[in-house]
Symmetry: C2
Subunit: 322 residues, 2 copies
């Protein structure tokens, strides 16, 4: 007998109901070229078209929506230099509460501005000397704020799972589902939804080579911490799997595969030139795994989550234009 | 009493039936940011997601599909260094006939390869000394091929009009429709469909500043030839309006506005960073007109055709990355 998972499929379905009319039901793209190259039928779930440009809005909105009225009156806090910051700021605004976002002092100005543009208060920290989670927790305690953790949070995991739920509602049964892995929230939620709908589906995670903490952790059966990953896939530069996400992924994920930064850049170029869509490095890792035949088992019908598209044109040019 | 147009709305509808299940019914994107910037509700018809990456497939397929069985046994010929080449090659392959494509000897290798990849025979010419239309016509005469002209062809015009037809089916009534103008086929077909469905709609064409032949021609009431345009919008580098398209546009187009190359690059960047889609320069001119307030009259609900997305990542980096 196995312990219950921290998030149920019903909770993913409830999150989907909560997100209806608020999050975008993002399109699923297909490409004859991609099918020909992979020898499979591939369905790309385009979370780059999600609000704030990434799947993160799903989990953040679901978590803020689940708060009590009293908690919403006090507000929320999150730490992120990336998409979760904007997602939480926008979710708070949409739900009539306030957000404090803890960001490194040297975060890209465009990201800080976008987050502030959604009405959030930005609190900066020095990424070399301060612990952002501790800072967020102390802000939460001092001001009575609810912490919206980026992945180790059941409502966040349930919200992220709606991406796979929507994809499978549109495609029907798939042989494999390929999902980028950072802290593990997207793949945990997606695996809960996918395996509930189609118990035989193969769920494959993708990490950048430099950030293979989840792969190593799954191999050794416990959470391993790797050195802070140096990779262009900044959304996946996580050093250790989540305490809540890891046991889910241990149970439901069949394999985690790795892609190099060069392979990620080539997948971004492929998405640009062939699919005509913009993917940030982390958003292209699933596609990179597919294009390089890293699924580890044959699959005829494959879903892949393209998790985000937040990259400015100049950075894209640096990475892909050379 | 006015003379009948060379293409009727019924012919656009027949083209739509012919294209069903063959061409993509491309998505219509909306963006809160774009709405806020323009003060309107904007609907972007994404022909960058069309087969071969541009609306051109619609017209080429419709024209080849309309040929007799005998003509299809002999094959077709087209001249183009751009999207019409690939569109005609693919349409011919899909319909079981052969295509000869007349291309400049110095066309980008990627375009020649893509066209050959669809099974077409490439015939090159020297763009400084030879007349491509004359060469295509002599090939047509010698080999008994049907010429699929890029815009001066009723079936091509009818096919292109299906883009606006689909857009309006999805959005309902619009106050304005914004369409890029090269030879005038896309806007002629679109104007036929749009004004038939919604007689009060304002149809606005967009040309690059350097290629303002249609604007000048409409002003002077006759087809004007301008010097060969030097613009990044290569799909609109046309020196004179079509003989068939011009009278349609004279009747149905309310205004033609101009955008600079810099404005086009900014629109490409906006599409990339905010809409997360890839547009080639010509494909971004409608968006550029909107972002720069060039519609010439207030409009609350606006459709814009993003006509194509064929640009390689390196060229995009050169244009936008600097």
């Amino acid at each position: 007998m196995t312990a219950a998972l921290p998030v149920s499929f019903d909770e993913v379905r409830e999150a989907a109901a909560r997100l209806t009319g608020v999050a975008h039901r993002t399109p699923v793209l297909t490409s004859r070229t991609l099918n020909a190259l992979t020898g499979a039928e591939v369905f790309v779930k385009c979370e780059n078209f999600q609000r704030v440009g990434a799947f993160k809005f799903r989990g953040a909105y679901n978590a803020v929506a689940r708060l009590s009225a009293g908690q919403r009156a006090r507000g929320v806090v999150a730490y992120s230099s990336g998409n979760h910051a904007q997602a939480t700021a926008l979710a708070a605004r949409e739900l009539g509460t306030t957000a404090v976002i803890v960001m490194p002092a040297d975060a890209p100005r465009s990201k800080a501005e976008a987050t502030a543009g959604y009405g959030a208060e930005i609190v900066t920290y020095d990424r070399y000397t301060q612990d952002r989670a501790a800072l967020a927790e102390s802000l939460a305690a001092e001001r009575g704020l609810a912490l919206v953790a980026p992945y180790d949070h059941p409502d966040v995991i349930a919200g992220q799972g709606t991406a796979a739920l929507e994809l499978l509602e549109e495609t029907g049964a798939l042989d494999a589902l390929v999902v980028p892995v950072g802290g593990g929230g997207l793949i945990a939620g997606s695996a809960i939804a996918a395996t509930a709908l189609h118990p035989g589906i193969r769920v494959v995670g993708v990490e950048p080579e430099a950030g293979d903490d989840t792969r190593r952790s799954l191999e050794s059966g416990r959470r391993i911490t790797v050195p802070v990953p140096r990779t262009i896939a900044d959304g996946q530069a996580v050093a250790t799997p989540g305490a809540l996400t890891f046991p889910v992924n241990q149970r439901l994920v069949d394999a985690v595969t790795l892609v190099s930064d060069d392979e990620i850049v080539e997948a971004m170029r492929f998405a640009f030139e062939r699919l005509k869509i913009v993917l940030e490095p982390s958003g292209a890792t699933g596609l990179a795994a597919l294009l390089n035949g890293r699924l580890g088992a044959p699959a005829r019908r494959i879903g892949v989550i393209a998790s985000g598209g937040n990259i400015d044109a100049r950075r894209f040019a640096e990475l892909v234009g050379a």
